[in-house]
């Protein structure tokens, strides 16, 4: 299990008023959702966590090691990112080569590489497509492929930027199970998402950003129990809460229909 500690972090894009400003944030749980409106700073935080951009001030420590001082190889093994738009991450001629690419920066043993690729493709259900060109895949398949490229590296920390976006329902279920499995096997999974139903059903911890600042960190039940921070972060409560409010004028917190049924059915 990893611990990410962010202290006194400031980042401002050139020629923009937007500033990401995080005084103290410690992410120590295995499954954490990062939520907030477009422009809240979620993707900027991910870019900082992967070292794609450098903060103007402050630092990020992962297991008490300063992220800025990691070698590229150490960084690859520590933290992997699955971007929102898979096309920005794919560039090889076949699905198999795509998965092999980053891995071959770290490993030289050809047999190990082959076995790892096979396993990574199988876990996202793309084995049959291994010889296809990544750009001929459907959008959900491209997204699953980018996940496979990171699975092959097996970093300690997985960053998912909007993983549910543009996936169909079977792929959404597959990714949810995969993420839960990663979290249960000692990895840390941090996901940016707009999907509050998914957060409510899947994530024990969450961080909400608004206008570049952290406005909440804790368990979803607490976040959704007070309408103010939810509104401030430009979000809507889980749909089950809207149903309860609109149909029953019931303003309690419910995370899922199952949660509602447990609280209301007399066994």
């Amino acid at each position: 299990m990893s611990i990410i500690q962010i202290s006194d972090l400031r980042y401002q894009y050139p020629a923009s008023d937007f500033q990401l400003s995080i005084n103290q944030l410690s992410i120590a749980d295995s499954l954490v959702a990062i939520v907030g409106q477009n422009g809240a700073g979620k993707s900027t935080l991910f870019k900082l966590l992967t070292g794609l951009i450098q903060p103007q001030k402050g630092e990020i420590n992962i297991n008490q090691q300063n992220l800025a001082r990691l070698t590229p190889e150490e960084r690859l093994r520590t933290i992997g990112i699955i971007f929102q738009d898979p096309s920005s991450q794919l560039f090889n001629a076949t699905v198999e080569k795509e998965v092999a690419w980053s891995l071959s920066q770290l490993e030289s043993d050809a047999e190990l590489i082959q076995a790892t690729i096979k396993k990574a493709l199988a876990s996202v259900g793309l084995t049959k497509l291994k010889d296809q060109n990544p750009f001929d895949l459907s959008l959900p398949e491209k997204k699953l492929l980018t996940i496979a490229t990171v699975l092959a590296i097996n970093p300690q920390i997985y960053l998912f930027d909007e993983p549910m976006m543009s996936l169909d329902w079977p792929s959404q279920r597959l990714v949810t199970v995969l993420i839960q499995h990663l979290a249960q096997t000692g990895h840390q999974v941090i996901a940016i998402t707009h999907d509050m139903d998914w957060v409510a059903a899947t994530f024990p911890k969450m961080v909400a950003l608004a206008a570049g600042n952290v406005v909440f960190e804790g368990v979803p039940t607490n976040f959704f129990s007070c309408p103010e921070p939810v509104k401030k972060a430009g979000l809507l409560p889980p749909r089950i809460m809207t149903i309860a409010q609109e149909v029953f004028n019931d303003h309690q917190v419910y995370l899922t229909p199952q949660d509602y049924a447990e609280k209301h059915l007399v066994h």
Partner: protein, 283 residues
Amino acid sequence: MANYQQLSLNHLSFTYQHDRNPVLDDLTVSVPLNRIIGIIGNHHAGKTTLCRVLAGIVPQIISGKLTGDCQIGDQSPVRDWPAYNQQTGFVLQDPHSQLSGLADTVADEIAFDLLNHGVKETDIQQRVTTVAAQLQLTAQLQQSPDSLSGGQLQRLAIATAIVTHPNVLILDDPTSEMDPQGRRDFFNWLKTVTHTTIVIVSNEIDELCETADELWILEKGHLVSHGTPLQVMNHLNPEWQVTTPMVYQLARLMNWPLAIKPTLFPVTLNQLRRCVNVNHSNQ
């Protein structure tokens, strides 16, 4: 005798030029005009191809073999192109690819099709302002389209599609990049559109059930189910791997069937409200 008051597909099949297997396989269905038709299904179901057929892009621009017929009102996208094209608006899956790329501002981008239609300058201004307000783009009118976020780009693509007042509107996953509030605003706006036949592909099953008059499920190129959201959601085959709206999931868990038809469970808030009132007053 053709019925000019409906959208109808008659044994419609389509195979892309270099493919062996049809992407759409023998679709037959008809719906009265001016309804909202929601299309759902998983990938490789043929949803985008069906949108392309309805928008006339297939086989006019992307070629392949089309058999059977597709008729919307008194025109067919296959036989009556480009007249059909004049009365149809569409929003592609990827909003970036459908903007002209020639406009310096959002306002010019929205005006682009109106100029092509020969609309008067003063009318153009007014229509652009109205559409921008409907889709909450007023503040962005003088910005470059390149500066917009994904959700704003999708709203811009919708604005360019509706500014010409089309009779038919084809929307292929128009909210995929919008945030939750933007998505809710979009579906609320969709409910207010009148005198337009709307075909919308979306994964937002809760919103589709609230908004659509008719749902079609595509699976591997076949139309496996069609009817009202209530009928379709209550008769799903697990093999289609389609999800259900949360209202339905809750009603199943709580055993709140419809009062008038106890074999069916509600799929909209209004249906849920009615059956809960009845169930409560019976207790």
